[in-house]
């Protein structure tokens, strides 16, 4: 703390509160029953309900992916026809993106962890938080209605004029996504306000966990981008319903304008998906290296930089769409600028590991897998950002492989790292470390088998969204399909050991990883209202050179008013004998 701030800081008396091990009462067993769960305003339970929902959608999306890969075993029809294939890839994309990737880290893990990392009892608007979950459910219902009334065969991008003319039930699907958008917006509103207003005493901006910085950047993108998606799908729905002609060339409109609007959301949406993953990786690498994070501000600010620049690059999805060369040039240039903050993060994480005390537990293993796969995803992104090369690679399997490396190799691996990292805090149980690691390795192998051949196929000119393909690609496709089955097996294994952990797992200690972060200073599972004593933060969350006891602090005089994140100095310290 700079000396100039000294006179602004508030003096508090602190006491040390060691977390209770294996508490009898916690958030999972107080307020029991289905109804209590469905009407809960507790962020932790809402987070778990989201977790269950996204797991369900990930399962559906995954099964659809396996159907696609199975169909692609042979160059012609294998077992489903072209119409079904088109519907399946549309649903796979829409479900994975809108129902799994976008809410996965912010709404599921984020909801659970955000107040715990900020040292507050709940998010700023608990009822709106619950509402956002139900809005998500309603959006999902509309999507299911659309599946049963003819599905959608437009691809998840809903490009006009095809989406305006196809006979399938685009209207229901767009309505579902419109509704879903509000769920995402409300989560963003909640998180921004909570991070600003409800930080614990002493939790100044320079002590904010990097996961919070990442979620903060994510929420800003959600709030700024999602409304444009809402208006775009609304206009698309009106296009079908009334034929308003803004996007439909047959009525005088412009299909490229639709693409601008769509990607103004959907490109930043890529960052909605990946930036919170960065946050998790920062937490995990620091914890398991037991070392202060390298370049705190570089990582924190690069999240914001990615969020901001990420808004200006949407046109790189449209290099061949018929937009002006000027726009192509600007978009290509800005695209490369996003690469810089992303690279900075990778190097900072590596530097954090340098001279650390690295414990290769499952979350750390996933973080390492993330580093490797996401780096490949990033480099192939550079390839696709280069205008001349993108002309060749656009809409081929190269793009498919690229975004699966970023989304699955990056985002899903980060999500799994986070899930394994916070699992003990969520359920108070440990999972089988051996099987978890084996699964991670199987997943890694299956993933690369699936998507590496797709880079080769794509550069050789295999277009995406193809039901039939020319014979020369069959070998690659079959290899890829076998890889996808291995991924499937890995997720089944994961499901098995997670279920085992839930019902028969060993009880988890409050702080199994020896982390300094705030969420590990409460018992596992977390208490009903998170903190029985208002915590006081005097060190950063990665200050591993400070003694553990100084992280387990609470205000001695209970409930004296404080403003968010107000700087504090310790006046008197009492060690509590619990």
């Amino acid at each position: 703390m700079a000396t100039t701030d000294q006179n602004k800081t508030k003096k508090v008396q602190v006491r040390r509160f060691k977390p209770e091990e294996n508490p009898e009462k916690h958030y999972l067993n107080q307020e029991k029953g289905l109804w209590a769960w469905l009407t809960t305003v507790d962020h932790k339970k809402i987070g778990l309900m989201y977790l269950a929902s996204i797991a369900f959608f990930f399962f559906i999306g995954g099964v659809l992916a396996l159907l696609l890969r199975t169909e692609l075993l042979t160059p012609a029809q294998t077992f489903i026809d072209a119409d079904v294939y088109n519907q399946v890839f549309t649903l796979h994309g829409a479900i994975m993106i809108f129902f799994f990737l976008v809410p996965s880290v912010p709404a599921a893990l984020g909801n659970f962890i955000l107040p715990l990392q900020l040292g507050c009892k709940d998010v700023a608007f608990p009822r709106i938080n619950l509402a956002s979950f139900y809005i998500y459910v309603i959006g999902a219902i509309f999507t299911f209605i659309s599946i049963t009334t003819g599905a959608v065969d437009t691809g998840w991008t809903f490009y006009t004029p095809y989406s305006a003319t196809t006979g399938t039930s685009v209207l229901m699907m767009t309505l579902g996504i419109f509704i879903l958008g509000f769920s995402s917006i409300l989560t963003g509103v909640n998180f921004i306000t909570t991070i600003h207003k409800l930080r614990a005493p002493g939790l100044t901006w320079n002590k904010l966990p990097l996961n919070m910085w990442a979620l903060y950047a994510t929420s800003i993108i959600q709030v700024l981008a999602t409304p444009v998606l809402a208006i775009t799908v609304l206009l698309l729905a009106m296009e079908r319903l009334l034929g308003i002609g803004i996007f439909d060339p047959n009525l005088g409109g412009d299909p490229v304008l639709y693409q601008h609007f769509f990607w103004f959301y959907s490109h930043p949406a890529v960052y909605i998906m990946i930036v919170p993953g960065f946050g998790i990786i920062s937490e995990v690498i620091s914890t398991f290296s037991r070392k202060i994070i390298f370049g705190y501000w570089a990582i924190a600010l690069s999240s914001l930089a990615i969020a901001f620049i990420g808004f200006l690059v949407w046109g790189h999805h449209m290099f061949t769409a018929g937009q002006s060369s000027l726009a192509n040039m600007v978009f290509s240039f800005l695209t490369f600028l996003v690469g810089i903050p992303t690279g900075i993060k990778i190097f900072n994480w590596l530097a954090t590991m340098y001279k650390g005390s690295i414990d290769m537990k499952t979350p750390m293993l996933y973080a390492m897998i993330f580093l490797f796969l996401f780096t490949i995803g990033g480099f192939t992104g550079i390839m696709l950002g280069a205008l001349a090369v993108d002309i060749h690679l656009h809409d081929t399997y190269y793009v498919v492989a690229h975004f699966h490396y970023v989304m699955m190799g990056g985002m899903v691996m980060a999500f799994l790292a986070g899930l394994h990292y916070w699992w003990p805090k969520m359920f108070g149980k440990m999972y089988n470390e051996f099987w978890a690691k084996v699964t991670a390795v199987v997943l890694f192998i299956g993933f690369n088998m699936t998507f590496l051949p797709q880079f080769v196929m794509g550069s050789q000119g295999m277009p995406r969204r193809y039901f039939n393909y020319i014979d020369q690609f069959q070998g690659f496709h079959q290899f890829s399909t076998i890889g996808s089955y291995i991924i499937g097996v890995a997720f089944l294994m994961m499901f098995a050991y997670m279920m085992h952990s839930l019902f028969k797992g060993k009880k988890a200690p409050a702080n199994p990883w020896g982390s300094r972060a705030l969420e590990w200073q409460v018992s596992s599972p977390a208490p009903l209202h998170n903190f029985d004593h208002t915590p006081v933060i005097i060190h950063g969350p990665y200050d591993y050179h400070q003694p553990m006891s100084e992280f387990q602090l609470g205000i001695a005089t209970s409930h004296n008013g404080h403003h968010a994140g107000e700087p504090v100095t310790v006046e008197k310290s009492v060690t509590d004998k619990v």
Partner: protein, 313 residues
């Protein structure tokens, strides 16, 4: 490492492909070197600094400005090189030489029509002079399509309300495949065509004779040939299989129920109408998706097709 790029890329058959491939190779190699570095660092650190006891004390290294600047600036320089390289390559791809030979392309779900200056129209076969710039001016009849020749490293979307263009110049005579790469519905993956690059002489001969080449064929054979050449068989089978459209088998003189309940006999007039104005009457159970062949099929060609259909009883 260049072998890897060579393995990944299809044969380069156009003059601009060289730049694209060189940039591809550069990015590929640079990325592989950096990736190898990062991977080695991950594995080395994980091993070297593995936890030895629970009381390990780690040094406080919170940041290092010199390092931060280094690993921001070096990638920045690299990506600026890639950007300029990619942009100049792109501008070459966008700027067709003035003396380019022009072919008009009309994309329809799900076929490609190529219109030549003498009025001849070929379907799913693009014939061009080799070693000479060729400019395609393209539009779509219905939804978005995209014209892609992997061997030439060129691609451009085809839009219904505007003309777009691309150009290429082949290195030598030869054949290459054309794909549609903008998703356009059921038969998207069948919307392929072939580009034939002929020597200038051969091309001129082809262009002169193509229009009249099939005039003196046997009508049934000619009809069968036209069905294939105009990609009718993408959607209509000759063996009773149901594809996007009704099968041709047993079509001739059959009683057909239309979408509006009307019963029509598939006679000459009906078939002619179905080819020239396909969405006027739709057979019950099918979608109105067929493009019109007005202007691309002559009367005698339609007669030949009808003669052929008569044989499919």
């Amino acid at each position: 490492m260049n072998r890897l790029s060579e393995y990944m890329l299809p044969p380069a058959k156009s003059v601009t492909a060289e730049t694209t491939d060189a940039l591809f190779t550069f990015i590929n190699n640079t990325s592989l070197i950096l990736l190898a570095g990062i991977t080695v660092a991950i594995i080395y650190f994980s091993w070297k600094y593995r936890r030895r006891s629970d009381d390990d004390v780690t040094p406080v290294i919170s940041h290092n400005n010199k390092l931060e600047i280094t690993w921001s600036v070096i990638p920045l320089i690299l990506v600026l090189i890639v950007f300029s390289w990619g942009f100049s390559g792109y501008m070459d791809l966008r700027t067709a030489p003035d003396d380019a030979y022009e072919v008009k392309v009309i994309a329809k779900s799900w076929l490609w029509e190529f219109h030549y200056e003498n009025g001849y129209v070929s379907v799913n076969e693009l014939h061009v002079p080799a070693e000479r710039p060729v400019k395609l001016v393209m539009r779509s009849d219905d939804v978005l399509h995209s014209f892609y020749v992997p061997d030439y490293r060129v691609k451009m979307d085809v839009l219904p309300n505007r003309y777009t263009s691309l150009w290429f110049q082949t290195n030598e005579p030869g054949e290459s495949i054309i794909h549609c790469t903008e998703y356009c519905g059921r038969n998207h993956s069948n919307m392929n065509a072939t580009v034939f690059a002929h020597s200038q002489e051969d091309f001129e001969t082809w262009l002169e004779t193509a229009a009249s080449a099939d005039d003196d064929m046997d009508p049934v054979e000619r009809g069968e040939m036209l069905i294939t050449r105009n990609a009718c068989d993408t959607c209509h089978s000759a063996d009773g299989t149901r594809l996007v459209g009704p099968t041709f088998e047993g079509l001739w003189m059959s009683e057909r129920e239309m979408e509006d309940g009307e019963i029509v006999t598939a006679d000459e007039n009906y078939i002619r109408e179905s080819i020239l104005d396909p969405n006027a009457r739709i057979t019950a159970g099918y979608d109105p998706v067929m493009p019109s062949y007005q202007g691309s099929l002559s009367d005698s060609q339609i007669d030949a097709i009808i003669e052929y259909l008569k044989t499919l009883q």
